[in-house]
């Protein structure tokens, strides 16, 4: 590859990362506004999260708890950025390789581990409790999510995300996976798993602010907390995009020269709708205890996902 090609690729990757962050922060602000309206409040302006991040990054003192604490945050942000870059956005995938569906699953686990490292380095007992809960939560929602992913892989006979997206976009909306009955079940299970990934209520026990003082983030302040908010914004975009890629054809509806613009807008609308759904669920439910969340995922969600897997297997064999 020539130098120019590499430069364009790097510029595009940077643009994706910046767009992902801005979209995430904007969505978080809109989410706060929606939750406020559900509570019959006025709520903050939709750009409040940009202000919050700017304020945190402009704090004058920033207490560190050793080099693991610093590195862990970098670990989380780079892990989630890499995940975002491996996902097809509007049908365009910047980084790709064979079997990247598995790779994305591994990459999604990296931020949680980075989180655990940072919280462990801070030495706060609340952070320890929060990290234990976060890891248990990860273990719980990954089982139904992996089963639905396997169902998709069996049906489309591929482990590449780009292929899954391409095969779903042949006939536009009609060929989306979610239009098929077995994948409706799978999408339900995956959406609940998404709720856990986003750490929204009812699955926000790892960061429960009133019980364990915001859990793993208890010792984060100033620039560290600002970076953590950026991480959360990117994670929001990456996780909803993963769902859109798997079940909603990656938002690809148009083909042709300028199709990218339309696809991009459709992708944005789809992840926004998914996020609104998650926010509305969050605004209407109290939080589960950790063993209730674990039971919910491993009993009901895993069974629903398994039914869809068996159904898909029967379809494929016929």
């Amino acid at each position: 590859m020539d130098v120019m090609g590499i430069a364009i690729k790097v510029a595009l990757l940077t643009a994706y990362a910046v767009i992902g962050t801005c979209v995430g922060l904007l969505f978080m602000g809109i989410g706060r506004k929606i939750i406020a309206r559900v509570h019959n409040r006025v709520g903050p302006p939709f750009y409040q999260n940009f202000i919050d991040v700017a304020k945190l990054l402009s704090k004058k003192t920033n207490i560190s708890h050793g080099w693991i604490f610093d590195l862990a945050l970098l670990f989380s942000i780079s892990g989630i950025l890499l995940t975002l870059l491996f996902l097809p956005i509007g049908g365009v995938q910047l980084l790709s390789m064979e079997g990247d569906a598995f790779l994305v699953l591994y990459l999604l686990a990296i931020p949680a581990l980075g989180f655990a490292l940072g919280a462990g380095a801070s030495g706060n007992p609340n952070a320890g409790v929060g990290v234990m809960r976060a890891l248990v939560m990860m273990l719980s929602y990954e089982l139904p999510f992996i089963i639905t992913l396997i169902a998709l892989m069996i049906y489309y006979d591929t482990t590449s995300l780009a292929t899954i997206v391409r095969m779903q976009s042949i006939n536009g909306v009609k060929s989306w996976a979610i239009t098929m009955p077995p994948f409706m079940l799978a999408a339900f299970a995956a959406d609940m798993a998404l709720q856990g990934m986003l750490m929204e209520q009812p699955f926000d026990i790892p960061v429960a602010p009133h019980e364990i003082a915001s859990g793993p983030m208890v010792e984060f302040g100033g620039k560290y907390l600002g970076s953590l908010m950026l991480y959360k914004a990117i994670a929001l975009v990456a996780e909803t995009t993963l769902f859109v890629d798997l079940f909603l054809g990656g938002g690809v509806v148009a083909h042709g020269n300028f199709a990218f613009v339309i696809n991009f807008i459709v992708w944005l609308a789809l992840i926004f709708l998914l996020f609104i759904l998650s926010i509305l669920i969050a605004a209407s439910f109290p939080r589960f205890r950790i063993e209730q969340a674990f039971g919910f995922y491993w009993k009901y969600e895993a069974i629903i996902a398994a039914i869809s897997l068996i159904w898909v297997y029967i379809l494929v064999i016929k």
Binding site: K59, K60, T61
Partner: protein, 186 residues
């Protein structure tokens, strides 16, 4: 220090102005609930008065917070904790003190165990008068604090850094108070 944006260089002072603008619009508070002021906080946070529309949000830990709310009288025992919490916060940090108890002791003016003037031990940026102040008063105090930050007058944390020795001396005096032959005196 500076950074080029477009064709003009942004000076450090301009960046500080931007920092002041954003820190004014996003005040995260930690409410240290002593005394009777704690009961005034839920109405301020919930739908009736809704402080979130000004960008004010409650936080769980001192590391994340910008504003420390002290909602009532302080005994010597709680003062020790308040000072620990205040020193854990990341500057720029501000203190809002509630009610007459923090101003001059209020109805506990002759109590043996209530510190009278909070300002002697940590710097206070805004006082709210009243016993207890109403939720409107609390929101008014936050608006006042925003004005002070904008004008550059809310600099209690700088005062604490500058006169650290004096503040420590005052704190030591109230924690280790001894008088000779005092058992007979009182």
């Amino acid at each position: 220090m500076g950074l080029y944006i477009g064709d003009k260089m942004m000076k450090y002072e301009e960046w500080s102005k931007l920092a002041i603008k954003v820190s004014k619009a996003s005040l995260w508070m930690l409410h240290f609930c002593t005394g009777c002021g704690a009961i005034e906080m839920p109405p301020v946070m919930t739908s009736r008065y809704d402080m979130e529309r000004f960008g004010i949000a409650p936080m769980a830990t001192p590391r994340q917070a910008d504003v420390l709310l002290i909602t009532g009288y302080l005994t010597v025992k709680t003062l020790r904790r308040v000072i620990q919490v205040y020193e854990q916060m990341q500057s720029p940090k501000y203190v809002i003190a509630f009610g007459s108890c923090t101003i001059n002791g209020g109805m506990y003016w002759d109590s043996y165990n209530t510190i009278k003037h909070l300002e002697k031990y940590i710097p206070v940026d805004v006082y709210i008068t009243g016993c207890m102040p109403r939720p409107e008063g609390i929101i008014n105090a936050f608006i006042k604090l925003m004005e002070l930050i904008d004008e550059g007058k809310a600099r209690g944390w700088e005062k604490y850094q500058k006169y650290y020795d004096k503040y420590k001396e005052n704190q030591r005096r109230v924690f280790n108070f001894e008088i000779e032959g005092e058992n007979e005196e009182y």
